[in-house]
């Protein structure tokens, strides 16, 4: 069975999914992802030339509405679950270098 390379698991976790994994978990995921990906190869057997994709089951296109201001959450409500806030803003660790 094809194991996924350790570097590949770490790339997906660190750079794309933003997850910090323990060494044990990286090892487990190499195996699990490999096993599941192999299972997916079953689909390659099916001929899907000329078959459109279905990303959505309803026969509808864009739903538009008037661009009218309506009721929305108050600033207080919107900030009510913030782990950290200051003067009406969400506060996060420093992003830019000084």
């Amino acid at each position: 069975m094809p194991e996924i390379k350790r570097e590949e698991v770490l790339h997906v976790a660190n750079n794309l999914a933003r997850l910090e994994l323990s060494d044990d978990e990286v090892e487990r995921l190499q195996y699990e992802l490999g096993r599941i990906m192999e299972y997916f190869l079953e689909l390659q057997k099916i001929d899907t030339r000329d078959v459109d994709i279905t990303s959505h089951v309803l026969p509808m296109t864009n739903v538009l509405r008037d661009d009218q201001p309506g009721e929305c959450l108050s600033q207080e409500d919107a900030l009510s679950n913030a782990p950290d806030k200051i003067e009406g803003f969400f506060r996060v660790p420093r992003i830019l270098e000084e």
């Binding site: 794309l16 997850l19 992802l33 299972y39 309803l58 509808m60 919107a78 679950n81 660790p93």
Partner: protein, 479 residues
């Protein structure tokens, strides 16, 4: 019979006749919870004060002679995946352990408008990812029909609450079987409505092209009533269908004479416990005796449903769960961090459980450069083929019939360590979400004293036809 053992429509009748008050009915549920929920583990949060307050409000409106919805005063349990204003909503995840939504989900609003007191928020697999409710970050829920067994999942808390008479009925959500499979395992009726039938506004997203909200109830009439409460158009969900909602209860007794059903061979074969298959086929025979015309049919692409689902659902989940970054709401790491990306990674790794992390990794991997075409687009094309199988079936049949779950309820811990084995639990229910059609599970017999569910699938927006067949099946069970 104790009050809490009544069906919702029986209670509604007694409330209307003023033989019992909404407050008494609510208190009866709360008493039952106090008695049995330490063992069952159905609830994450019990909202006793809120429920009693809502019940008293209904009682006083009734005393004042106000015209009330028919079901006003019948307490409901809500899966903890639906946002409830001012009431903690966790999705059974550490990352939302202290989240208190500032608004109600649309389905919750509808329940409020119908005067249903909310008893509490029910346990589930974390972010609705699982089939046993063992993946909750907080506790394991058990099956009231056999306490050493799982209630199914991911809406296992809602199913256990109703089956254990800790609620008269409940709302769940269904992405690959999460309403129907627990209904089947707990001996209840469950409906996954047509995609778009019920608003997803305020439903915490797992896989947005598959998720639907629906009822878990003690009988078919209750399912028709509760679906009627929550169905309908909502401008805040752009995939919500702007179609009239039929009177589902009025359709129930129309019978199955003149209806034609197909039984897909692909849903009776490999992986289905032979005893479950026999039980389901016996129920089909009873429906035939009532006038349902039935034949076996072939839907070859259904066999590919599991690999399609386990690409698409994690891919959508990986995108949806990107929002949990410790900035606007939810858990944020308390550890020292070197920069904001470090904060994201520590927060997410502390907050998400192992199954959620696995699915995020799986989905991110399938969407990443070099794999997107081979996995994600390929799965979307095969999804089209699966949907076509159903479109073709509707040319010939009004409904399709199958088992809901390939087995009866399994023991707690039995499949917890084998992810692929666990995924087979949804083998009959997943194709329905991929095609976006409605389907119900209705009790149709027992194997080894444990409930078996018949799955009834129907054309888009024909929940009424499904309910007619379900009602007929239920009639063959009583007495």
């Amino acid at each position: 019979m104790e009050i809490c053992e009544l069906t919702a429509h029986e209670l509604a009748g007694r409330l209307q006749a003023r033989e019992v008050s909404a407050e008494e009915a609510t208190q009866a549920c709360l008493d039952r919870i106090a008695e049995t929920d330490a063992e069952l583990g159905a609830y994450l949060t019990v909202t006793a004060d809120l429920a009693l307050e809502q019940a008293r409000a209904v009682d006083s409106r009734r005393r004042a002679g106000e015209a009330l919805p028919a079901v006003a005063g019948v307490p409901v349990a809500i899966k903890d995946v639906l946002c409830t204003r001012g009431v903690r909503t966790t999705c059974a995840s550490r990352i939302l352990e202290n989240f208190v939504p500032p608004y109600d989900a649309a389905a919750v609003e509808r329940c409020n408008e119908a005067g249903l007191p909310m008893i509490g928020k029910t346990n589930m697999d974390e972010f609705a990812m699982g089939s046993s409710t063992e993946n909750s970050a907080f506790k394991v829920t058990r099956n009231p029909r056999a306490i050493d067994r799982v209630p199914g999942g991911s809406s296992g808390g809602s199913a256990a609450a109703v089956a254990g008479n800790e609620a008269f009925w409940a709302l769940g959500s269904d992405t690959g079987g999460s309403i129907r499979q627990p209904a089947s395992l707990c001996g209840l009726v469950g409906i996954k409505p047509t995609y778009g039938r019920v608003s997803r506004y305020g439903l915490i997203a797992y896989a947005s092209s598959l998720d639907q909200v629906g009822p878990l109830t003690k009988d078919v009439r209750d399912a028709a009533l509760l679906l009627g409460v929550i169905a309908g158009h909502d401008g805040r969900d752009s995939t919500s269908a702007d179609l009239p909602v039929p009177d589902y209860v009025a359709e129930l007794e129309k019978g199955v004479q003149g209806l034609k059903a197909g039984v897909p061979a692909q849903l009776l074969g490999q992986g289905i416990d032979p005893a479950v298959r026999d039980c389901v086929l016996a129920a089909v025979d009873r429906l035939v005796a009532l006038g349902l015309e039935v034949e076996e049919t072939q839907m070859p692409h259904i066999d590919y449903s599991l690999p399609v689902y386990y690409i698409l659902a994690p891919a959508e989940a990986a995108s949806n769960l990107a929002r949990y970054d410790g900035v606007r709401y939810g858990h944020r790491t308390a550890k020292p961090v070197s920069d904001i990306y470090d904060m994201f990674a520590k927060t997410r790794s502390e907050g998400f459980g192992p199954e959620v992390r696995l699915r995020i990794m799986l989905g991110t991997y399938a969407l990443s450069a070099g794999y997107y075409d081979a996995y994600y687009l390929k799965a979307l094309r095969v999804r089209t083929l699966i949907k076509r199988n159903f479109d073709e079936a509707w040319q010939k049949y009004d409904v399709l019939l199958s088992p809901t779950s390939p087995t009866v309820a399994f023991k707690v811990g039995e499949k917890a360590d084998d992810p692929l084995q666990m995924k087979l639990a949804d083998i009959c229910t997943i194709p329905i979400n991929l095609a976006g059609i409605p389907a119900a599970s209705v009790p149709c017999g027992e194997v080894d004293g444990l409930p078996v569910g018949l799955q009834i699938m129907g054309r888009p927006f024909q929940e009424d036809v499904i309910l007619r067949v379900a009602y007929a099946c239920e009639q063959t069970m009583s007495g």
